[in-house]
């Protein structure tokens, strides 16, 4: 890339449009009420905070659920009378019942994957960063953006309500495979709980589509003057690809759910055939295929992994570069590898189905494409490492979490090479090896990306600083805890220990891990407690944190730091700044950093 000024006609047009907007917004400020500012807000920054805080509520609930079911796994023979106080009949005598165990596992998975790591992560940062980093006053459609949050909110309420019904929430695993999820007679969780689960997920898909279309439209049309696509920060590229993935794959999930709703309620047989349920007898359905659902589910399910991971990758790239005071290494390779990941994400879904009896030839294609994803992933890792090399690293909490992300992404990504190779997957499929793999690479790593983002952009969000010491404690306990929890699970997987088991005591082959399970459960509780410490830091600092005094506390190049410390609706009080260079001129020509708004000097070297 060169640093010639690239003038984009769209950018000019939208800039003129913004000039008009700015006046409009200034007027607007005077009439802002509590409702329009904090509740039905159309300001992308407020909507981002709404997504973030709703996501936090779900993270606490989902995390607490994992603490509960880890109690069962770690201490299967103990009773905890206080559990009965909280869970009632689901923990009779202080012992979590199998029904409750499976409901907890299922809700934990659903909530963490969709509500926390999709809505909470890309909902927050796509909303917050896209207009700020590309130089726009708001999203293309602020109203749709608001709707996107409120659909998510209603989805949350419906999902939450399913926890309180008599037959309990859905309990057939977050993937909701029929026939189990289709037949209330096969599992009490598949009764009303499943109806609510489906309604919540359908609303969630709507929310995600409204958001995604908006993100795409905004990135493509509303960049400020000079902000060509190849000058965008990598966060924006990542959020853009994420939105594309979501828009193309969520509808497929939705169609899968519609068919499931038909099978459940209207007597169709899309997924059902040859079924005899104990106590009910033979069902009339014939001719359906249970595997069809799995294709539809994983056609979203696999891109979903990257919907979760890409925003974290983008933010980590940005943060690693900023805090090592050095340009991101291989910007175009980073964009290219994200593009490759986004394309391949659509072509690997059946690697979740190697043991369903799928055609071996078809399986072999999916092996090839799956392992191909390791190439762009490797490019990204080595580029991150090279970014650190010969840098001048400032260990802010955001930087620590970004480094932690890279470490976790390596550890969890490498076991993907095991699982993507079908012959090995046959053995490891649905064991704790898989749990270890996806929790490290997708769950914890993306969480780290999210934490990095929160620590990095908190001053922009609230105009105050988080407490650093709490941030360091949060980081070190969480990364050590994450490895202590998930690393030994590989060994359980290598013993063939299946996931989603309530109790292992009757199994001669798997019961040798009692001590380890107890250890893991103990670490889970400590790590969970430390997340509460982070939340305390977060909310305390909103009101009591040290005030931010510099507009650009990290000496960063990107546009969001050219706004006032507490930007109003419309982001820039005056004109939107013009962009003259890429976002990563750190340490160029002996200069510490050169913001994107600085014109290219006459004597500036053109090594990039």
């Amino acid at each position: 890339m060169t640093n010639e000024v690239l003038l984009d006609p769209h950018a000019i047009a939208s800039d003129a449009h913004h000039g008009h907007d700015a006046a409009h917004h200034d007027e607007h400020h005077h009439t802002e009420t509590f409702i329009s500012k904090y509740v039905f807000s159309m300001d992308h920054k407020m909507i981002a905070k709404q997504f973030l805080i709703t996501g936090m509520v779900w993270a606490v609930l989902g995390g607490l659920m994992s603490v509960f079911f880890r109690l069962q796994l770690g201490y299967p023979d103990s009773t905890f009378p206080w559990l009965e106080d909280i869970l009632g009949k689901w923990a009779k005598g202080g012992h979590i019942t199998p029904e409750a165990y499976y409901a907890l596992v299922t809700t934990h998975g659903t909530v963490l994957v969709f509500f926390v790591l999709t809505a909470g992560l890309s909902g927050t940062f796509a909303n917050f960063l896209i207009p700020l980093q590309i130089g726009a006053r708001d999203m293309a459609s602020p109203f749709m953006n608001m709707l996107s949050y409120w659909f998510f909110f209603i989805a949350s309420i419906v999902m939450l309500s399913s926890l309180f019904i008599e037959t309990g929430p859905f309990s057939g695993g977050w993937t909701a495979y029929p026939p189990l999820s289709a037949l209330g007679s096969a599992s009490p969780g598949s009764k009303t709980g499943m109806d609510l689960w489906l309604v919540a997920m359908a609303l969630f898909v709507v929310s995600s589509l409204l958001g995604g279309l908006n993100y795409i439209a905004t990135v493509l049309n509303m960049r400020t003057t000079g902000m060509s696509m190849t000058r965008m920060p990598l966060t924006i590229w990542a959020l853009f690809f994420t939105a594309v993935l979501g828009v193309l794959s969520f509808p497929v999930l939705f169609s899968g759910f519609i068919l499931l709703i038909f099978d459940r309620n209207f007597g169709t047989s899309f997924y059902l055939s040859d079924i005899f349920v104990n106590g009910v007898g033979a069902l009339p359905n014939e001719g359906g295929s249970a595997i069809l659902y799995q294709h539809l589910f994983w056609f979203l399910g696999h891109p979903e992994v990257y919907i979760i991971l890409l925003p974290a990758m983008g933010m980590v790239s940005e943060i690693l570069s900023t805090h090592s005071r050095k340009p991101i290494f291989g910007y175009m390779a980073m964009v290219g590898s994200m593009f490759a990941i986004a394309i391949l994400a659509f072509l690997v879904w059946a690697h979740h189905m190697f043991v369903t009896g799928l055609n071996p030839f078809l399986g072999s294609i999916f092996v090839l494409l799956t392992l191909l994803i390791a190439v762009p992933s490797a490019i990204k890792v080595f580029n991150w490492l090279t970014t650190l090399w010969k840098g001048n690293i400032r260990f802010t909490p955001a930087m620590m979490f970004a480094i932690g992300f890279v470490s976790l992404f390596i550890s969890g990504g490498l076991t993907g090479i095991w699982l993507g190779n079908s012959a090995l997957d046959i053995h490891l499929h649905d064991t704790y090896f898989v749990i270890a793999h996806f929790h490290i690479v997708m769950g914890v790593a993306s969480m780290f990306g999210m934490f990095a983002g929160v620590y990095h952009w908190y001053p922009k969000m609230y105009g105050r600083n988080l407490n650093n010491t709490l941030g360091y404690i949060h980081f070190w306990v969480t990364i050590a805890g994450a490895y202590l929890i998930f690393w030994p699970m590989h060994y359980e997987g290598l013993a063939g220990m299946p996931r989603r088991y309530y109790d292992y005591s009757i199994w001669e082959s798997f019961k040798q891990f009692g001590g380890l399970n107890q250890f893991i459960s103990t670490v889970v509780m400590i790590v969970f407690a430390v997340q509460l410490l982070f939340l305390f830091n977060f909310f305390y600092s909103i009101w009591r944190g040290r005030k931010v005094t510099q507009a650009n506390p990290w000496n960063s190049n990107t546009l969001e730091w050219t706004t006032p410390i507490k930007p109003g609706h419309g982001n820039w009080p005056g004109e939107i700044p013009e962009v003259h260079r890429w976002a990563y001129d750190y340490g160029k020509d002996g200069k510490e950093f050169i913001p994107q708004t600085v014109p290219v000097g006459a004597d500036e070297s053109t090594s990039h």
Partner: protein
């Protein structure tokens, strides 16, 4: 309980006070001084984490490797291939793991902020980017080829001399069917299932409402529950199905697994290498069993859905199968020649005559 909460809250308060105090101290010292200090501490901790982490990886292996399946030989020919593939994959990914983690934390430590360092402006290098595109691609191609050879051999046709057993999953147990003397599985239909007397719905009588014609091949089929007998060194093919929801036949000792899907039969074959008795000696565990674990979430009893594979010698198997009576006899005791005293009905006589 309340005490625990009180203690946790107390710890929180203490940590918070310390954190708050350190913030005030850093304000007093000035931002850049305190940043330098934090940088030193955290840079040092990065290298500590690396060392402790690598020691931890080794220690974890010491503790738990002995509890995995890898300390004993795999119990099938398939399993041997899986294990050697696993070791190769571990070798490749292990080297990358150690190297990249060392680089990551070492760089973090080495290049921590230093006033005298001039940052190296290094935005890209075609050579390096090419290097780490091409090398992983080549290595992965190797692994793909290796993996697919195994995959096609595992999923290929079973040898002709394989014995065939039908496996049916149900909430929450396993039903096995042997074809009997005629070596043919009789027809079954799920609407003919009777939970007590005909667990997989063998079509052994005409049914006008279901439009079924009795299949004489069903009459000698042998049906057992929970335990399946197979023969050492003889290939065995499982034809797998489910009666209700999706289950999965998990055979960790043979390194195999296959879903049991209602309405869509699947298959799996392997050759067991050790009898259960031999495996008890190999593992030095007198309680050893080849367990079948259900590996696909199937309801609230999922965790208890256990079956057993009993691997025996050909002689033991012959003796065992000779003692088994056709399932038909347990539903219609009248038809059993052992109960000859009672007059058998005409239809069953005709049916048994066909055998």
């Amino acid at each position: 309980m309340y005490l625990t909460i009180a203690v946790i809250v107390l710890i929180f308060v203490v940590i918070f006070q310390i954190a708050k105090a350190s913030e005030y101290v850093s304000l007093l010292k000035g931002e850049s001084v305190s940043r330098k200090q934090n940088n030193k501490v955290n840079g040092f901790l990065m290298i500590v984490f690396l060392v402790l982490g690598l020691v931890g990886v080794w220690y974890c292996n010491e503790l738990y490797f002995g509890k995995t399946l890898l300390v004993h030989p795999a119990a099938s020919n398939h399993g041997e291939k899986v294990d050697s593939m696993l070791w190769w994959t571990l070798g490749v990914t292990g080297v990358v793991f150690i190297a990249t983690q060392i680089l990551l934390f070492w760089f973090a430590y080495k290049y921590q902020e230093n006033e005298n360092r001039k940052v190296y402006y290094f935005p890209h290098s075609n050579f390096l980017e090419m290097l780490w595109t091409v090398v992983p691609a080549i290595v992965l191609t190797g692994l793909v080829i290796y993996g697919l050879r195994n995959w096609f051999s595992f999923t290929g046709e079973a040898p002709n001399n394989a014995m065939v057993v039908e496996v049916t999953g149900k909430q929450f147990g396993w039903i096995f069917r042997y074809p009997g003397k005629d070596a043919t599985f009789g027809k079954k239909y799920f609407k003919a299932i009777d939970a007590a007397t005909n667990t997989i719905g063998l079509v052994w009588k005409d049914d006008a409402t279901l439009n079924l014609k009795a299949d004489p091949a069903t009459l000698d089929d042998i049906v057992t529950e929970q335990t399946v007998y197979i023969v050492k060194d003889k290939p065995v093919k499982f034809i797998i199905g489910s009666r209700d929801v999706i289950h999965d036949v998990g055979l960790p000792h043979f390194r195999l697994k296959m879903d049991a899907v209602p309405g869509t039969p699947t298959t799996l074959w392997f050759t067991p290498k050790y009898t259960t008795k031999e495996m008890k000696e190999i593992t030095k565990n007198p309680n050893f069993q080849y367990e079948i674990s259900c590996d696909q979430m199937c309801g609230n009893g999922h965790y208890s859905m256990k079956g057993v594979v009993e691997v025996v010698t050909q002689e033991e198997y012959d003796a065992w199968i000779a003692k088994q009576k056709p399932y038909y006899f347990s539903a219609f005791p009248d038809a059993d020649p052992a109960n000859k005293k009672l007059p058998a009905s005409d239809t069953t006589k005709a049916a048994t005559a066909k055998l």
